[in-house]
């Protein structure tokens, strides 16, 4: 378990640094417009490739990618934790209810057969595109509404599979012999859940939570490639637009999607947020592996 806490610290630390730097100290990083040589003459204008002065390079808008990624990291972590906790909470309530009352889920299985052929990110795209992609007349909704809508839709998308997982693992515990014995002593479902099910399933919940975090981030990144950014995509319909689609919040997935056209030119602006996202993916995976190992030990 020690390794788990080390990984957790590694996951939270960059977000913490970001919060202290951008929210508590309110520092706006200086933009790097030009590169000077030793005489003080201008050598180049932005973008710059990664160097010791700017570890992740500088993008075309003269922003240092390191700070962009750091500031995006804290938003991304916050969003995926909010979405996954909401989804896991809903699933725990519904899944436990279904498992205790032994409800069959044939309606769900009909739906799931159809949903199998439509990837989650496509479904999210269909639901989000009408509201989050700016039309030629501009947005009629405000930013908060779009954010909440985005979070709700992603939560709803994550919930069905999570509910099934939780229902199955709760049912697995309920089918054990000692539960039958416990029912003869106290036939109260609430008591059984708190005393007998919850202690056995806690780690399972955490593993599912991490899985949903992973899945949410993946869907968010796919959406960003499809130019649906978190909280709405600002679209330029004017006659001379250099960049057509812009994100409204610079979280990691939006940064990635925003710079995805620059893959062949300013590759560092694309790979810098990708490194951040891969870092989250790898740590989440290692954490859930560690948790699975700790279950197997018992």
């Amino acid at each position: 378990m020690k390794k788990f806490y080390i990984l957790l610290t590694l996951l939270i630390l960059p977000a913490l640094v970001g919060v202290i730097y951008f929210d508590l100290l309110n520092i706006t990083p200086k933009s790097m417009n030009f590169l000077y040589n030793s005489n003080g003459d201008i050598m180049k204008s932005s973008p710059f490739a990664p160097s010791f002065k700017a570890l992740f390079g500088v993008d075309t808008a003269s922003k240092n990618m390191l700070f962009e990624v750091l500031s995006g990291y804290r938003i991304t972590i916050l969003i995926i934790i909010v979405i996954s906790s909401l989804s896991v909470l809903c699933s725990i309530v519904i899944g436990t209810y279904l498992a205790f009352n032994r409800k069959t889920t044939s309606i769900y299985s009909i739906f799931s057969n159809a949903l199998f052929y439509i990837p989650q990110s496509i479904l999210a795209y269909i639901l989000l595109q009408p509201l989050l992609y700016e039309t030629i007349d501009g947005f009629t909704t405000n930013m908060q509404f779009r954010m909440i809508y985005n979070i709700i839709i992603l939560t709803i998308l994550m919930t069905p599979t999570t509910t099934m997982l939780i229902k199955e693992s709760t049912q697995h515990i309920l089918n054990q012999d000692y539960i039958k014995a416990a029912y003869t002593i106290s036939p109260h479902d609430k008591h059984i859940f708190i005393k007998h099910v919850l202690p056995n399933i806690q780690t399972q919940y955490l593993i599912i939570f991490l899985r949903i975090c992973f899945q949410t981030l993946l869907v968010m990144t796919h959406l960003a490639f499809f130019k649906i950014f978190l909280g709405g995509t600002k679209v330029c319909y004017g006659p001379a637009c250099e960049i057509i689609e812009r994100p409204s919040i610079n979280d990691l997935s939006s940064l990635l999607g925003f710079h995805s056209n620059e893959l062949t030119t300013n590759w560092w602006t694309f790979y810098a947020p990708l490194v951040g996202i891969l870092y989250i993916f790898i740590i989440i995976n290692l954490m859930s592996q560690e948790l699975k190992r700790s279950i197997l030990k018992y």
Partner: protein, 284 residues
Amino acid sequence: MRKLFNFTMTIIVFLLLACLPALFDDQRFSFLNYLNALKSTFLYIFHPQEIIFTNKISHVERSLFPFFIEPWINTIVILFAALLLAFIVSLLFTYLLYVNDHIKKWYLKINTVLSIIPDIFYIPFSISLVILFYRYTDILLFNVANSSEDKALIFPILVLSIIPLVSSVTFLSSILDDVSRADFVEFSRAKGLSNIELYFKHILRNLFASYLINFKHIIWITLSSLLLLERIFNMHGLSSFIFDYGSPEVLFVTFILIYVPISLAIFMSHKVLFTITGVRGGLS
């Protein structure tokens, strides 16, 4: 009877999902609009040749059907070629793992790392690799983007096949461990069969069966990557109908045309599985 019921239900769910964009009329929630879209999309089932799609930018209207076939075939070819390639390569790979323990130890380590890394990394990274290679050697290994004369086909297939390959090698190697310790293999070895004979006569058949059992899961993970891949490679496939011309009736047709070939493939895989092993595929 049950199959027919499932089929109808799937189509109805597709219809309900395809009309979801119509829930919003000019960025406002409107259920009435949704019902109208449901009705009009449902009526298109009876005369599909009249479905038109509109280009979002130029507002040119065209009828969907002769136009739709080519990108559809394109997508399906890429999907199934990638699956087939992954299938063949993963069986060859397991052979390597079977004959050489040294490779196995190393490969499994690499495989765990690879299975963590998602498609959003593979696809751009492979493009970068080809471009880097081109820069230093002036040899363009593959076409990374479509042009009007020649289509990039081989490279997307290769990139897409990584995803099913990695996941299938993971479970094939664990099954390989189980099978090679099984009694009938030990017995055949005692009878004097060589390693190669053992692999091709006994083990391969078991691996093949387990691949088919997991076929549905493999298709599922490949499918979601496929649409992302089409976007990144800027290919004209099914994804352009979802993203560029996303009206309910076009979405509905797209969903059905994704559903039909894949469910056929899954059905075929169950049939093949049944004839080889006598096990009925229970996963559909």
